[in-house]
């Protein structure tokens, strides 16, 4: 009798496990199991505030109208890059749409990993491709086909505390040069207790320190590669620019500079630890938010220059559609909605104009309501983005696209490696010249791959 019971218990347990496994074959609790015949799109995207807004508005303003369910996966920037790289290079087809930057789009397009937007998005009703800011569209075009549609875009400019400048009795020119900025940094350094002159990213990373630093190199007349793919990292101009950048941080920069990236600098400016900050135009969203302690106290001027007329970078989070994705039509409908002017208006209505994913369409900046809501910075932002030239950002012809980066897959690890040494130089453990001479060797190896 007892023997039977144990036998039955074992059988039951076995059935339970097998049953669970069979069930497991169906997939998971998220996403596709709830599909039920409806169309759907799987979207992989970076976790930035604009994307969180998009997530919030999707059910009411997209799924309701089209019947397409959108399943989002959001990850922080580094993780999302790794995952997108893996997903797209394997053409795994788990995701239909991914958020990527103008650094990835041309390379991915060249590898055949993306679906062209020309058929289905560009010609979608009411999309109006001509409204997209020219440098944006240009930076995501490959062989006359558009492979990425911007969700929002940014340039770079100089932000400064108007009240501190007034107190110190100095004025900021509208189009400052880097030499002027260095002088101003010296004057406002310590103008208030605990306030340093300027914040510049010192955190290693091609997308951290080398975003602002490469624009400085550009305007000082340097470049990563000349048009024949000869590396120029140890050139006089590159060294001069980098030394200038590092010395400025050392003399009048934020404390803890070797670990300060975008987020840290944003906090520094918000909490009054620095008087100036040269960084992304996207910072305005946080700086001018209602709960920001520095709301209305910040002035915005164009990116500082030296040899060139303008020096803003060009960056966008854009949508790319995976060629192996299973829901191509639904994916195109999603992109045509998320990058549209209509979506911007939806955001304005539901969340307010300061939430609008701006920086991609000329019409945004012509809208009087946006002009009013973004009065302190909308003009400078538009000028920054419009002035960026992804084909010709410096004083010499370039071998490929890119302002604050070089659009080749090797650039990320090349620049990140060199930035680690420069970060050490900021901390005083090595010198800029040594770091760049070492970097030159690495850059030559990369350049040689492209010489043919």
């Amino acid at each position: 009798m007892k023997q039977k019971i144990t036998g039955r218990a074992v059988t039951a347990a076995a059935i339970g496990v097998v049953g669970a496994l069979t069930l497991a074959g169906c997939g998971g609790a998220g996403g596709s199991s709830s599909g039920g015949g409806n169309e759907e799109v799987n979207v992989l995207m970076v976790n930035n505030p604009q994307m969180q807004d998009l997530q919030k508005l999707t059910a009411d303003h997209f799924t309701n109208d089209t019947g397409i369910t959108v399943n989002y996966t959001v990850l922080p920037e580094n993780e999302v890059r790794a995952k997108i790289g893996q997903e797209f290079s394997a053409q795994a087809g788990n995701y239909d749409v991914a958020s990527m930057s103008n650094y990835e789009v041309p390379t991915y397009a060249e590898n055949g990993w993306l679906t062209s937007m020309n058929d289905g998005v560009v010609d979608a009703e009411g999309f109006n491709q001509d409204d997209i800011l020219e440098p944006m569209a240009e930076s995501m075009t490959y062989q006359d086909q558009i492979y990425g549609e911007p969700f929002y875009g940014e340039g770079s400019f100089l932000m400064y505390r108007k009240d501190i400048f007034e107190k110190a009795g100095v004025t900021m020119p509208d189009n400052p040069t880097w030499d002027e900025v260095a002088d101003l940094a010296e004057e406002v350094d310590g103008a208030e207790k605990g306030t340093k002159g300027i914040c510049l990213r010192g955190l290693p990373g091609w997308g951290e320190m080398f975003a602002p630093l490469t624009t400085v190199v550009n305007t000082f007349g340097g470049t990563w590669f000349d048009e024949n793919w000869d590396a120029q990292v140890d050139s006089k101009e590159f060294k001069e620019a980098t030394n200038f950048y590092v010395d400025l941080i050392k003399d009048h920069g934020e404390s803890g500079a070797p670990q300060a990236g975008y987020t840290e600098c944003l906090t520094n400016l918000q909490q009054g630890n620095v008087a100036m900050w040269y960084d992304s135009t996207a910072a305005t969203g946080t700086l001018e938010a209602d709960d920001s302690p520095v709301k209305g106290k910040i002035g915005y001027v164009a990116a500082p220059v030296k040899e060139t007329k303008s020096s803003s970078w060009l960056y966008t989070w854009a949508w790319g559609i995976q060629a192996a994705g299973k829901n191509q039509d639904a994916a195109k409908q999603f992109v045509a909605w998320a990058s549209s002017q209509d979506y911007e208006e939806t955001v304005a209505e539901e969340l307010g104009w300061q939430h609008v994913p701006a920086g991609k369409r000329a019409s945004t900046y012509e809208n009087p309501e946006y002009q009013k809501a973004a009065a302190p910075f909308y003009k400078q932002t538009e000028e920054a983005i419009e002035s960026a030239d992804p084909k010709n950002p410096g004083v010499q012809p370039r071998p490929t696209l890119g302002v604050q980066f070089v659009t080749i897959p090797e650039f990320a690890s090349l620049a990140t490696g060199i930035s680690e040494d420069i970060s050490s130089a900021i901390a005083g453990r090595t010198t800029v010249d040594k770091a760049l001479e070492q970097g030159q060797k690495e850059a030559e190896k990369v350049g040689d791959k492209y010489k043919e």
């Binding site: 497991a24 169906c26 596709s32 799987n42 976790n47 930035n48 922080p76 997903e87 987020t263």
Partner: protein
Amino acid sequence: MSTPDTTESAGAADPARADSAAATDSAVAANPGGTGPGDADRSRQKASAQRRPGQRRIGKVLLGLLAWLTGLLFVSPLLWMLLTSLHAETDASTNPPSFFAPLTLESYSNFFGGSSGASPWPYLINSAVAAIVSTLIVLALSTMAAYSLAIRRIKRWSDVLFFLLSTKMLPMVAGLLPVYLVAQMFGILDTWLLLIIIYSAMNMPIAVWMMRSFLAEVPIEVLEAAELDGARLPRVFMKILLPLTAPGLAATALICFIFSWNELLFANVLTSTAAATAPVFLTSFVTSQGLFLSQVCAASLIISVPVLVAGIAAQDKLVQGLSMGAVK
């Protein structure tokens, strides 16, 4: 005079007990022979008995104080997380920290979809399924494997044990790409099935080692007696081995559950929209543009709750498992 002493030491024992869950595994692994803690205790008692009572009392108070301090030290990161999770984002990110900022539950409501509308439940369900099913499978298989390595020993059993151990020497990340490609070929990327297979395989060696040391403690005479009475293997398992090693089973199950519940690397790479687990969801709170400390703290705390509950539920068994010599 002796009354304050007892309360002091009883109080001091508590935080140490809370940490014992974490220590179980290492203690068992370090001490498979079963000798040790008992002997050390006895000699300590002998030594202290020779000292005078006053000295002994001060020593005990100091020891109690030390235990409290150590306990606080270990709990402080958790308390700090709790405090941060109850602050608003802007208060959570100030330097120096603002201890007395007003408390709010905003981060917790964000976790449950307040800001983005993303529900955490699918992720928690995925985690629960992957962790529980894989733990059951591991327990079933590892107990049987341990039986053949501890009681009815197969030939070259120690080689088998070392083979199992050697599979843990390959860094997990080295197996990531092959696993991804194979899973893609079989079309099981982003499914429960894949996670369960991976987690079962990942925990199997540890579970076999643990269960072997627990089964080795069971006196062979008990089994022989049962067999003489006519009990066959399934019955011996159900009626004798499993009850006798229940604390060991609990400890093994908890370890497996915690490892699978917390696993991030594989889950992050192998899942996308359908089978993503709670730790993957946790990373989605981190952003490079904006503040997230408070949200991440709140999310981490909520996601740790099941592990804590499991640990507390199995606490008694775990303590028994720690001093497994009791079976003798």
